[in-house]
Subunit: 363 residues, 2 copies
């Protein structure tokens, strides 16, 4: 029970400082919960605050407004230019509507994602945009926890099938299918897929491969399905030897493409599902003394300034990265402003930028 100070109005920070016998700045830091204060001084300030019945302004302010006008963004990899573009879209839209954005990166680690979600709850963000590494039903407790605490969550780039949430994605399956169809139309039938699911050892069957994929990232599975769709339509038999497996890093893509190039019936085209898969593949081509598009055709995700200045320039899939972020922010801000969550897939369309990395096989 606070002591009666025998005067009107709530106690001020200066009064607490006087009572504690410390400077005003020390009292402000302690009561504001920011900055360094020695344990001894902190204790004195807290005791004085307790005695006078001091109540921090920051909390009072946050309690009176209810919203902090801050969105939290959790991305899988802040170092991927794709996510950088998405974040720019989120930031532009949020700023225009009066919200700041805090970003955390999980580096594709589910534990980090759980920790990041807790940080954002703790920092009292109003809503979260999440590009999740979660796939299974048992991996989504942290997302549910945020929602249960009244923090709406919108997913971006990656669907989490076991959660019914607003989700903003691109047409991954169609985009992959379209690219592989272009290779098939140019005459290719041996088309390498870089990169696939992180299995150990090549799954012998198509079903095995899809099972592996479904244990992993949603986008990866969708792109693999698009590749298979195109092969099926053209009645090209699936060859597991032409699918990269293993860790999704540039070095591994180089190794796997080198392996494919050493096959008796080597691929005449490559479809690369990531920027690092493209550069990893190009390293393998150079090591093997092969040039594109003469010796091998190539199409990749995601378009960049570099892809355009390569010699010859690369045919690439361009994702609407800014739009992905802007749409996710829009959906989330609408919910914060009272709209009912629609709990649906918002599918944006990618674009195949045709340049000069595809030619017929065996020229």
């Amino acid at each position: 029970m606070p002591a009666d100070r025998g005067q009107a109005g709530p106690p001020t920070i200066s009064e607490v400082a006087r009572e504690a016998g410390v400077g005003r700045a020390t009292a402000a830091r302690t009561l504001g919960g920011y900055g360094y204060v020695s344990p001894e001084l902190r204790e004195r300030v807290l005791a004085a605050a307790e005695k006078l019945g001091y109540r921090a302004n920051a909390l009072a302010r946050s309690m009176s407004t209810g919203v902090s006008h801050t969105l939290g963004v959790i991305v899988a990899d802040i170092g991927n230019p794709f996510f950088a573009g998405v974040m720019r879209g989120i930031s532009d839209t949020s700023r225009a509507r009066g919200f700041d954005t805090l970003v955390l990166s999980t580096y594709e680690d589910l534990e980090e994602e759980v920790a990041a979600t807790n940080v954002l709850i703790d920092k009292r963000v109003d809503g979260v945009i999440l590009s999740s590494a979660a796939v299974h039903r048992k991996e989504v407790a942290h997302i549910k926890a945020a929602i249960d605490r009244g923090i709406p969550v919108v997913l971006v780039d990656r669907a989490v099938p076991s959660l019914e949430l607003d989700t903003v994605v691109i047409n991954n399956r169609d985009a992959a299918r379209g690219a592989v169809e272009m290779l098939i139309e140019a005459g290719h039938r041996r088309i390498g897929f870089v990169w696939g699911p992180p299995a150990t050892g090549v799954p012998a069957t198509r079903r095995g491969l899809l099972t592996e994929a479904s244990r992993n990232l949603w986008t990866d599975g969708e792109r693999l399905r698009g590749y298979l769709d195109a092969l099926d339509d053209a009645r090209i038999p699936f060859d597991p030897e032409l699918v990269m497996v293993g860790r999704k890093i540039e070095e591994r893509a180089t190794e796997e493409v080198a392996r494919m190039l050493a096959l008796p019936d080597r691929p005449t085209a490559l479809f690369c599902t990531e920027t690092d898969a493209v550069t990893g593949s190009l390293r393998a081509l150079r090591a093997a003394g092969l040039s594109y598009p003469r010796d091998i055709a190539l199409i990749g995700f995601d378009d960049s300034a570099w892809a355009a200045v390569m010699e010859p320039p690369l045919t690439m899939i361009e994702q609407p990265v800014h739009e992905l972020g802007a749409k996710a922010a829009e959906v989330l801000l609408d919910i914060l402003e009272g709209a009912e969550p629609r709990r649906e897939m918002h599918v944006l369309t990618s674009r195949l930028i045709v340049r000069s990395s595809v030619a017929p096989p065996g020229r």
Copy 2:
């Protein structure tokens, strides 16, 4: 003055909820300051909290520990792979020492930087790592405000000359000088500088150029000085026509290199100080029908996977991006754990990765 509830111990959220006649979750959201609560219900909860003398746990926790174990990072452009690498370094080091990191991007806008600093103060981070767009004495009030509130600030990538703060940078001037020296040693005397200060119209004199540069980013000025150092040492006269000016965007680099290539005495080499300056320059070369290194030599900042797979691969300056971030986090965490700020420049060394984009002129 809180009402006496006639019982021991502080009131709980459930008691506040009961008093307000709302669900526990609604009371928790209101009192925790997160999530949406309708204005009417919020008012009832706050009145009940006031009546019972409820004090939020989050604040109590933050007040008792003093630190939130969160670092704030403000970068100029989250979309620049350079900053992505720096952030990874910050994040790895912080996590290893038990701190989470919140990132905000200012997109090179000083007003955004001020807003971002206020957000981080508001979110009670323990310290801030800042890559500032500030140059002038009058632009640093927000940084001083954070420090005055007990939040230590460490600068990364860019020094702010008017502030005495721990600052982690690379040897920009020496790195630029070394690259230009390599071009001079290969026989070049007409060396274009892409990009320079954002002046309108080419400053006629060397002094004018340096004045423009000092009004702008510290890194840009340092790299320009390194370029001039190398010219001076080789007694090559400075030609303002060979320095790009204007907005620092890829399109502008393309325009400016095109302008230089149209000069009667065109450059035989280019030194590019940014990734976008490299790709912008390459676009101009292609448009002019010129190939490197045969028609023109080229060295650029910053090395990337793409630069290595170009044909021929590019000679590039590699910045120790991860180390930059790691060092900045280390210095900041040391301060948070009681070390005296050393207020010094921590200078890390870049590396010139020699590949195949430099040949003698006029081959």
